[in-house]
């Protein structure tokens, strides 16, 4: 396992509904990131299709693995990189049940996927109308260590990140489609998740306008002490690289020992109380 490697945060604008065009852009960015030394390249939530696709989701969703993941696998194999991207996933057991998923492929092909657990359905968001929530965290064993996957609104619920950390993830990858009015929330919460878990957090957001929603970009790699190690521009397509060095976790974990101090009995209490809200 590599202890130190470069991560590329590829915040792109997607062409809505045009998977071929988006795959072309993903391939171009992966190739460029590889040249710049990246071992892991991360794309935003729903980067295969764009975010605001509404009823078109039923046309665009695919099984995982499926045709698009196969193409992404080939790109990862050709470039010998790991790639995380987002897409609508059609359940293999039904005909129109869709998940909002994050996929990880690598030099040896498909590695795993995560189905978004918290689906925002308020304000401009209507995810519960289209998606079934996932029920499992995803911590995937790779040559780059254990990588935890979460998606956008999941970050408002610290238990999702915490679960991946407790399952061994030292790098939590959060792909996102966050509109500009929510920027301060994500800037705060991404740092908080890194600090409270003493883990690396890689956050990659969309850019561009989709039906009046402007996605703000601002992708970032945050170290276990909360330090921002790489940060992409606001509002524009950009790709920045940062270094994940797992050895940085140890001194932070001794200085702020949140995992040592974890109190499991509080989780039972939390469950009891939240059920009665």
């Amino acid at each position: 396992m590599e202890k130190e490697f470069k991560v590329a945060l590829a915040q792109i604008e997607c062409k809505r509904g045009d998977k071929n065009s988006n795959i072309d852009k993903i391939e171009e960015k992966v190739t460029e990131a590889k040249k710049r030394g990246a071992k892991l390249v991360i794309f935003p939530e729903m980067s295969l299709t764009g975010y605001v696709v509404r009823d078109e989701i039923y046309e665009l969703a695919e099984n995982i693995p499926g045709p698009s993941t196969k193409t992404l696998e080939r790109i990862a194999q050709r470039t010998k990189t790991h790639v995380v991207f987002g897409m609508p996933e059609l359940s293999g057991k039904t005909r129109a049940t869709v998940f909002n998923s994050s996929v990880l492929v690598g030099p040896k092909g498909f590695i795993g996927k995560y189905r978004k657990m918290y689906l925002p359905t308020h304000s401009v968001f209507e995810e519960k109308r289209y998606f079934r929530p996932g029920y499992q965290s995803a911590v995937l064993d790779t040559e780059l260590g254990k990588i935890g996957l979460i998606i956008c609104y999941d970050i408002f619920f610290p238990e999702v990140s915490r679960l991946t950390r407790l399952e061994g993830a030292q790098l939590i990858v959060c792909i996102s489609a966050s509109p500009a009015v929510r920027r301060t929330f994500f800037e705060t919460l991404t740092t908080a998740r890194a600090i409270e878990n003493t883990a690396f957090v890689a956050y990659v957001n969309l850019v561009g306008f989709e039906d009046g929603l402007q996605f703000w970009g601002g992708s970032r790699l945050i170290g276990p002490s909360g330090k921002i190690l790489a940060k992409a521009r606001y509002d524009e397509e950009d790709m920045v690289l940062g270094t994940v060095d797992y050895d940085e976790i140890r001194p932070v974990e001794t200085f702020v020992p949140t995992l040592r101090d974890l109190r499991p009995e509080l989780f039972d209490k939390l469950r009891e109380t939240s059920e009665k809200l």
Binding site: D211, G212, D235
Partner: protein, 280 residues
Amino acid sequence: MDLTPSVLNLDWTEVEKRIEHFIKDYVEKSGARGIVLGLSGGVDSCTVAALSAKAVGGSKVLGLQLPEKEVFAAVDAKHSSLIAKKFKFKTIRIDITPTLQAFYSSIPIFDKSEKLCKGNLKARTRMVYIYYYANNRNMLVCGSSDKSETMMGYFTKWGDVAADISPIMDLYKTQVRMLAQHLKIPKEIARKPSTPALWPNQLAEKELGIKYEQLDLILYGLEHFMKTDEIAKQLKISKKRVDDVKRRWHSTEHKRQMLLTAKLGYRTVGKDFRLPFTAV
């Protein structure tokens, strides 16, 4: 939440950037050659004209001045020209009086004493001219409605609100004035009392029965799910005044939504046909 005027203050550099980005993006993706807008000389249309010119370049913006003799104000014409010169976009002035006269004489039931019917006819006539230019020149119509008048339903259905995009519709009137000042639009325009110019001496605040400074705070409170008694308490006004604003907001929802129809089919236009606004 404290309902003070400061809640309406935004980072105007950021707001300007976002709106201009929005306009540019939409024009480019639509394949249109530019923007056409009705230029009344009021703060809303002058602000939208300035933003449009900054977003896509003045050469791609056309301001239509559509005066008519009953409500003609030389100062508005002067302000329109001033903004066009400052932000370097073209204008065309067309007197719509003859067209209105033709309508008046050809509508069998026309009654000049029915102020509202006649006023709405003017707003819709302006819309016809603007859309003719848009179609003819493959341009997008950029609307100038603000959030205050949109929430109050203070506009003509299929008239002044008709547009392809409406870049300042999420800003209250007092916020538009602040944005106008940020854009260095002259103060006499930014602070000029608003009028829909449907009949002589018509003033928005007089018709709405409330100053925009107060209305915008009430609407801001309602937008943020505050209860009317709490808004009234904070603004030190009667609960009835706030309830009246809320009632007017709710009762005009039909002017803001897609047409209502009886649900008969599997999927229905405007209800559960939920497609992206722009083609996927």
